[in-house]
């Protein structure tokens, strides 16, 4: 049976805010990523997110390459950023 969210992304990068906030001191969903696959750049909040897995898989809405993965284990979090060339993080008050 096909579950909702398996064929199309059910969520977007906004849904990663809580997990990322436990790792970073700033809100990363407002940061801009650059996709390693196609160099598309936009807010992390706009990534397409799949959550049917041990973690979250975030893909570029432009080329659908994986940009970012977050996997939660009971005592740690794995963050895989190989699909992003860089993150541009706005600083508070600037």
């Amino acid at each position: 049976m096909t579950q909702p969210g398996e064929t199309g992304a059910a969520l977007d990068g906004n849904a990663m805010a809580g997990d990322l906030r436990e790792i970073f001191a700033v809100d990363v969903t407002a940061a801009r990523y650059m996709c390693a696959g196609c160099t598309h750049t936009d807010a992390v909040a706009t990534l397409m997110v799949w959550q049917h897995s041990p973690g979250l898989v975030a893909r570029c809405p432009h080329c659908s390459d994986v940009v970012l993965r977050v996997v939660r284990a009971p005592d740690r979090v794995y963050l895989d950023l190989r699909g992003s060339v860089r993150l541009e993080v706005p600083l508070e008050g600037s």
Binding site: Q3, P4, G5, G8, A9, A10, L11, D12, G13, N14, A15, A17, G18, R21, E22, V26, D27, T29, A30, A43, V44, A45, T46
Partner: protein, 221 residues
């Protein structure tokens, strides 16, 4: 409505993660938009949860939880799909179904801050019975100067409604949204297909994509 005595406050559009842990240690986590505008009501956070029959978390929150039960929350989180009352631009809010929840927090925050940015809300629902905040929106359109609400009914309209049921389209956004020349800040929230349709229309009408912020929810929880 959750009592959170040490709540640090939030911006309209932010959400919380609700985490449930079963006796065997199985955990399920879902994000819910905050419907209330800080700091009202004091020390409380209002969530609006749509019950999904095959969901893991929403039936528990809507059917099982009773006043006095404790719930594990993480938040407020999210710093992108938020409106700050210092933003001077007019605002266009487009909500599909329960996607109206974070937009309602923005409407409430605007009233509470007493700011003057003109707001327009285009709210798409299946039927008049599905409307969230129906009474409050009616009252606010009357009392909150500069707030307009337009409804799009997709399955059934109220009696004497001038148009048959339809999905959100170019005509609705062109007629009831702001012209692109006004450079409004646009917030679109709803199911994925709704959000993509509305955002594509806004861009086609000439709105600056950088002023369009979107939030998709899955309806899988």
């Amino acid at each position: 409505m959750l009592d959170v005595p040490d709540w640090p406050g939030h911006l309209p559009g932010q959400h919380v993660d609700v985490r449930l842990t079963a006796e065997d240690g199985y955990r399920a986590q879902r994000s819910y938009s905050i419907a209330s505008a800080w700091p009202h009501p004091e020390g409380k956070v209002e969530l609006t949860v749509q019950r999904l029959d095959d969901g893991e978390v929403s039936p528990y929150l809507t059917d099982t939880v009773e006043a006095g039960d404790r719930i594990e929350l993480r938040g407020p989180v999210g710093g992108w799909f938020v409106w700050r009352d210092q933003q001077p631009a007019p605002v266009l809010l487009i909500g599909g179904g329960s996607g109206v929840v974070p937009l309602m927090a923005m409407v409430r925050a605007r009233a509470m801050a007493g700011t003057k940015q003109p707001f327009r809300l285009i709210y798409s629902v299946r039927t008049p019975e599905d409307l969230l905040y129906a009474d409050e929106l009616r009252r606010r359109v009357r009392d909150d100067a500069g707030l307009d609400v337009h409804y799009v009914y997709t399955r059934k309209t109220p009696d004497n409604w001038p148009a048959p049921p339809k999905r959100i389209d170019v005509a609705a956004l062109n007629t009831y949204g702001w012209p692109p020349d006004f450079a409004p800040d646009c917030f679109v929230c709803g199911p994925t297909t709704f959000v993509e349709t509305a955002a594509d229309i806004l861009v086609a009408l000439g709105h600056d994509p950088r002023r369009i912020r979107t939030e998709r929810f899955g309806g899988t929880s």
